[in-house]
């Protein structure tokens, strides 16, 4: 059953009417896709915990809140304020404030010929044909209300195009800055990443909040990778602890394409991280790597849906969670092996550390296998900081708080070490260090260890 209150639906309906009136001159295919998606969303409404996909996550907070569409907020953001969000060696950085592209804040300097990194609205005008072919083809608006809602409001976001045989050394960085006003605001972000055959690139999506308002980012990223492409995608969620973030990464990979998805969830009050690769071509490989660190009352739900649709493909899922205070983590690892996907090799591992008696994690594997010659394994652990390891470090002179912190960093490091791009890895280590729960404030050594953490690995 959908949660329904007339007022809350009215919010989205009036926003949709406003968008419809404003975009009359946009291509027809786009208007039709929006209409269809809105009808789908409007009919079904938001999911409840009775829905198997949402069993561990109650989103009534979203359903009950009146959200206004976030407006222009460029003036509230200074370039200096964003300095800490620049990845060294990046190929470019596209900055969107409340979903609106800012040329002054962005740095699109030296991209190789043919590579496009623009706002989605620019692309709708300039790259209509490519968008018509791909936009909306990776997500399932019938199954997921948030994807339907997002598709209904396709307008803001980023567009990345990497032409055939292009190799990019530095990452393409997309910075999404949320600057919510006094009342709760929603930003719908739709990103499309197209990587043609034999390309190599990394794309970083970084979500941050400025100010103290409540923001809801509803994000869908579609990533289409051509034959033999090697593409790494990084998601960093570090919006404020009052933020809501529902994010879907839907990937389709052609023959022999090698994709990796790295998610690092640090911020947000209610976070849902959907990762959905479809291994559509023979011999595809996919790494799905993630780290979530919760404290306070943060809720972080990771929903993996890995579809093997072609023979000889392999997927590896590794998710590590660290949960403190009353935080709640979820790992739902669904693997579907289609009838023709013989010789599939799928592995899934979820490891969790609970730092408090009140922290909670729900971990659930779900394998649906329709082929007969496959290898699928899964495993999950839930534990505490190991007393043996703690004593070992302390017996060498490292004080208890520092030892504890060091073990947490080491646990997080397992995920970070899977990231091949060193500048991004270092950038993320800094972020992780900053967000890691701190037990004691009087201890200076913990800070010193943190400072020198770049050498840990």
């Amino acid at each position: 059953m959908a949660i329904r209150t007339a007022e809350q639906l009215h919010d989205y309906l009036s926003a949709f009417d406003e968008l419809r009136a404003r975009t009359q001159d946009q291509p027809r295919w786009l208007r039709e896709r929006r209409e269809q998606a809105f009808a789908e969303f409007f009919e079904k409404g938001f999911p409840t915990t009775k829905d198997e996909d949402w069993r561990f996550t109650n989103i009534s907070l979203i359903a009950k809140t009146h959200f206004r569409t976030a407006g222009e907020a460029r003036k509230e953001v200074s370039p200096e304020r964003l300095a800490e969000y620049r990845v060294p060696g990046a190929a470019c950085q596209l900055v969107l404030v409340n979903g609106v592209f800012s040329a002054e804040l962005s740095d699109l300097g030296n991209l190789p010929a043919g590579v496009e990194v623009t706002s989605l609205s620019q692309a709708i005008t300039a790259q209509g044909e490519a968008l018509a072919r791909h936009l909306g083809t990776c997500v399932n608006i019938h199954r997921d209300a948030f994807s339907a809602l997002n598709t209904a409001f396709i307008e803001k976001g980023a567009y990345v195009y990497v032409p055939r045989r292009t190799v990019l050394a530095g990452p393409i960085c997309l910075l999404f800055v949320s600057v919510p006003g006094d009342s709760p605001e929603i930003t719908q972000l739709r990103n499309l990443i197209l990587a043609e055959e034999q390309t190599e690139a990394s794309v970083v999506e970084d979500y941050v909040t400025l100010g103290s308002g409540v923001g809801f980012s509803n994000v869908v990223t579609e990533l289409v990778a051509g034959e033999n492409a090697t593409i790494s995608h990084y998601l960093i969620e570090r919006e404020s602890k009052s933020a809501i973030n529902v994010s879907t990464l839907a990937m389709r990979q052609a023959r022999n394409a090698n994709l990796s998805s790295h998610s690092v969830l640090l911020g947000g009050r209610l976070v849902r991280n959907n990762v959905h690769p479809v291994l559509a071509g023979d011999g595809g490989e996919c790494l799905i790597n993630g780290l979530f660190i919760g404290s306070g009352t943060q809720h972080m739900d990771n929903y993996m849906l890995v579809e093997h649709a072609s023979p000889h493909s392999s997927s590896r899922q590794f998710y590590n969670g660290i949960l403190d205070d009353h935080s709640h983590g979820v790992f739902h690892g669904r693997i579907i092996v289609h009838r023709d996907a013989q010789k599939t090799d799928a592995k899934q591992t979820n490891r969790n550390l609970l730092l408090s008696d009140h922290a909670q994690v729900d971990t659930k594997p779900q394998l649906e296998i329709y082929a007969d010659d496959v290898k699928c394994t899964h495993g999950a652990t839930i534990g505490q900081v190991e007393e043996n390891a703690l004593f070992y470090l302390r017996s060498r002179g490292i004080d208890e708080d520092s030892a504890r912190r060091l073990l947490l960093l080491a646990f997080a490091n397992e995920c970070l070490e899977r990231m091949k791009n060193q500048p991004i890895r270092d950038y993320l280590k800094n972020a992780v260090q900053h967000w890691l729960p701190v037990r004691s404030s009087h201890n200076t050594m913990a800070n010193e260890l943190a400072r020198t953490w770049e050498e840990v690995g």
Partner: protein, 255 residues
């Protein structure tokens, strides 16, 4: 000068008495060995000295250089110069050996008011210690003990000991499970560290280790008490006659 003085030490685990009145004094520069059958309390004694908190001290006292060791946390004991080589070294994925050792050394140096070492100064120092134990340099960047063989783990313990330069080194069955080549390497490492400023406590089940590291004194621990003490020749007698010999003697003495 006495470094370690244990008087009438009683310790429990989960309400079960393991140490039932241990007395032992170790002077600076001496090497002592404690031998005993399985379950006699050897490892408990080592862990109490390293300040593992799972043990409840019910009676007695332990002084390290005149200070009350039983009031110290593990990290304080380490900084005061106590080092225990673990019987079962712990694997710590995600932390490199080099990082761990420098963090440990700097923590103890800081405690003692000494200047901390940066990575540039520390690395040659560590490499030298690793050469002493025939440890390949690739172990520098490997996670602490992760995937190490049993012998590599034990050698890594002695590398740590060589780096931390303790005043009291306790080897908890470091020889167990080692083949003769690995044992020689470990013994060479320990012998290199023998000095007038350092005391060593060898805890072992087998006399074999004492062929390579010759102690000044041998004590026999049976059922939570030291029942016999002597020179290196006591170890040989034990090897020949078995622990039941001392147990029988104890009963005779008591009777």
């Amino acid at each position: 000068m006495t470094l370690l003085e244990i008087r009438n030490l009683h310790a429990n685990v989960n309400g079960h008495e393991i140490l039932k009145g241990v007395d032992l004094a170790i002077k600076v520069g001496e090497v002592h060995s404690i031998m005993g059958p399985n379950g006699s309390g050897k490892s408990t004694l080592a862990q109490v000295l390293a300040r593992r908190e799972t043990y409840e001290i019910t009676d007695g006292e332990v002084l390290l250089n005149g200070k009350n060791l039983l009031e110290m946390k593990p990290e304080e004991a380490a900084s005061e110069g106590v080092f225990m080589a673990f019987q079962y070294p712990v694997e710590i994925p995600g932390i490199s050996n080099a990082y761990f050792l420098r963090a440990a050394l700097n923590a103890t140096r800081k405690y003692r008011g000494q200047e901390e070492l940066d990575a540039i100064d520390f690395l040659p120092f560590l490499k030298e210690k690793m050469r002493l134990l025939d440890m390949d340099e690739r172990f520098l960047n490997r996670a602490v003990n992760e995937g190490f063989s049993g012998g590599e783990k034990k050698r890594n313990e002695i590398v740590q000991m060589a780096v931390l330069e303790p005043r009291l080194a306790i080897l908890d069955e470091t020889d167990s499970g080692l083949d003769i080549d690995a044992l020689r390497v470990v013994a060479r490492g320990v012998n290199t560290m023998r000095s007038q400023e350092r005391s060593i406590l060898l805890i072992t089940h087998y006399q074999r280790l004492l062929n390579y590291i010759v102690p000044d004194y041998v004590h026999v621990l049976v059922d939570g008490r030291i029942v016999k003490s002597g020179g290196p020749e006591l170890a040989l007698a034990l090897e020949e006659k078995g622990y039941s010999w001392t147990e029988a003697e104890t009963i005779r003495a008591a009777g």
